[in-house]
């Protein structure tokens, strides 16, 4: 029931905090629990057939975002709507239905597969458990899935530790396709793989999303991988999106100082890099968020405003937005 233009996934103002459990002594002293802000009002839309990349470093909240969308973690605020259905308020049955449509692919291809289960069983189990196929159809279903991800049917009898990292990731992908989802969320899905295998898996994901008309959220800290796969990209920092827009444009003309720093810091094969690092300082602790713009302590363009006022989104047209007081209004590149 999806009108062609309407987004498949709509995330609005999603937030999530984690609180440390207090020891009794602290509670008696009235000490407030240490609060970690993982997500602070994130909004995102994803259309059918679209791949949106999410880039961020540690503490950016990208993994929490992925987990909140599928409700592996309960969000504290905001809303998530999948094809019109409210995900956060769904009851157990509705959630089970929604879960068939959105599948997660994890980073570590070893720990995302049950080490004691054969590949074939791991792949055919989802459809059997959800009673989408009859037990006697399982073998054909399995063979189809294996073929789709480029694995030989003989792989079905093997256990995860008998496969290489790239092959395991293919199995994980096959398993995620078993329920015919409409959207995949890949959380650092290729980060643990060697470069040559990464390229294979990226090609596979691209082909699958195209053939099956899947939407995808691709989370990574590697800009080059995002550039390869996603049409749009959202840059996250300390629980917020700081810039969003079509990938090629954002990467060639960043309109947020953090995006620019990431691009400069990214190791490339160019051999004449400037001497000073792109970004000084440490990533602040998500327990103590800076006031005003989250990025201001490390920003080379910081102004007075940035220290106290949270930057509102600046609409740059063509689907581009940046949350910065300074750079969107300039036409040059940051230092």
């Amino acid at each position: 029931m999806n009108l062609n233009g309407a987004p498949l996934l709509e995330v609005e103002g999603l937030s999530k905090h984690f609180e440390d459990r207090r020891v009794a002594a602290d509670r008696l002293r009235g000490r407030r629990a240490a609060r970690l802000t993982a997500l602070d009002g994130v909004s995102l839309t994803v259309r059918r057939n679209e791949t949106v990349g999410i880039v961020g470093e540690s503490g950016s909240g990208k993994t929490t975002l992925a987990r909140c969308i599928v409700r592996l973690v309960e969000a504290d605020g905001g809303s998530v709507a999948f094809d019109g259905a409210d995900v956060l308020a769904a009851d157990a049955r509705e959630l089970r239905r929604i879960r068939r449509e959105v599948q997660l692919i994890y980073q570590d291809p070893y720990s995302s597969l049950n080490p004691r289960m054969s590949v074939g069983r791991a792949i055919s189990e989802p459809a059997l458990v959800h009673r989408l196929i009859e037990p006697d159809a399982a073998e054909r279903h399995r063979a189809e899935l294996l073929e789709r991800v480029g694995l030989p049917s003989s792989a079905a009898a093997l256990r995860p530790h008998e496969l290489s990292g790239g092959q395991r990731q293919r199995v994980a992908i096959a398993r995620s396709l078993a329920l015919n989802p409409r959207m995949l969320v890949a959380d650092e899905a290729v980060s643990a793989l060697d470069v040559s295998i990464q390229a294979q898996i990226l090609a596979l994901l691209e082909r699958l999303t195209r053939e099956l008309g899947l939407a995808m959220i691709f989370i990574s800290h590697q800009l080059s991988v995002i550039a390869r796969l996603s049409q749009r990209v959202a840059i996250m920092y300390l629980g917020r999106i700081v810039e969003i827009g079509p990938t090629a444009e954002v990467f060639s003309n960043p309109r947020h100082p953090y995006t620019a720093a990431l691009l400069r810091a990214h190791p490339t094969l160019e051999l004449d890099k400037p001497r000073a690092p792109a970004l000084a300082g440490e990533i602040p602790s998500p327990y103590h968020m800076p006031e005003g713009c989250r990025f201001h302590p490390r920003c080379p363009l910081v102004e007075e405003r940035c220290r106290t006022v949270d930057p509102p989104p600046v609409d740059l047209g063509g689907g581009r937005r940046s949350w910065c007081h300074v750079l969107p209004y300039r036409s040059d590149q940051p230092p």
Partner: protein, 300 residues
């Protein structure tokens, strides 16, 4: 990515061509296999003989022969005779049935219970976890023997009391071991994957998580069998286990105590059998632990 090459977990070390490397690795492997199979051999031998005793010609453990009182070990009486002329070897064999059965039942019934409880508590967390934890803490805090004695006091001496006593107490350690493993396991990505695939909770806990959290419990169960047999022996020694003339290893040791200095074999040989069973089970436990490629060693 750490060391570029590491022998995969569980890979045994052996070598086709010779060299110091190979020799060292090969002897390690031999030791490991030797351990396991020695243990299996010992236990298989004891179990077989206990069960097949009548077929092997050892018939009545209670047959007294007052003409053969306190005879030392000989061909007719491999373990000698006791103060009323009973053949100690036969008594040991029949006693084995009682002890071995006790050991196995009192270990594996609580194991099943404890593992199930620990798995659910560890996975669900919340109030269930808290309740189970406090229960486990309470049970474990009591000295095992005291608790068992208290229960025996309620139900009276005899095997029933001993069985119930260990059941009440024995599950706790398995629950704790399993809960601990489950706390780690439930964050593993394949469990998260099972959640996002929409599997029902019971399936995630029992089909996916459980096989991966069983190892420490299985390895410990080997030690537990020994401990439980020793417990029964201790109870019988104190007169609170089986009632005479039923043969049971601990009871046999107790019976021989009074004549220890003159007829050493009456107490010592049954005692040695207990030790032998302990060694056999420990070797099996070590062998299993080695085979599974982990550093989980037997501690008992």
């Amino acid at each position: 990515m750490s060391v570029a090459v590491e022998p995969r977990a569980g890979e045994e070390l052996g070598l086709r061509d010779d060299g110091t490397l190979g020799r060292r690795a090969r002897s390690e492997r031999r030791w490991s296999a030797l351990t396991l199979w020695t243990g299996v051999g010992i236990m298989a031998g004891i179990v077989f003989m206990s069960l097949a005793a009548p077929l092997l010609g050892f018939e009545d453990p209670n047959r007294q022969d007052l003409a053969q009182v306190l005879k030392p070990p000989s061909l007719d009486h491999p373990f000698g005779t006791d103060s009323v002329g009973r053949d100690i070897f036969t008594r040991v064999l029949y006693g084995g049935r009682i002890d071995l059965l006790f050991g196995v039942v009192t270990t594996y019934v609580p194991l099943v219970l404890g593992v199930a409880l620990g798995a659910i508590a560890g996975y669900r967390g919340g109030w269930l976890d808290t309740v189970v934890n406090r229960l486990v803490d309470t049970v474990i805090a009591f000295p095992f023997i005291v608790l068992v004695l208290a229960i025996v006091a309620i139900f009276g001496p005899g095997l029933t009391g001993a069985y119930i006593g260990v059941f009440v107490v024995g599950w706790a350690l398995y629950a704790r071991l399993t809960r601990g493993e489950m706390l780690v396991m439930r964050e593993r990505e394949f469990i998260l994957a099972a959640q996002t695939l929409g599997y029902p909770t019971w399936r995630i806990v029992f089909v996916h998580a459980l096989p991966n959290v069983l190892r420490p419990s299985i390895v410990f169960s080997m030690a537990d069998i020994v401990l439980n047999i020793l417990l029964l022996s201790a109870l019988s020694y104190l007169g609170l286990g089986v009632s005479p003339p039923t043969p049971e290893w601990g009871a046999l040791v107790a019976e021989g105590q009074s004549v220890l200095l003159t007829s050493w074999w009456v107490a010592t040989l049954p005692g040695l059998v207990i030790v032998l069973v302990g060694i056999g089970l420990s070797l099996i436990g070590d062998g299993i632990a080695d085979r599974m490629g982990r550093d989980f060693k037997l501690t008992a």
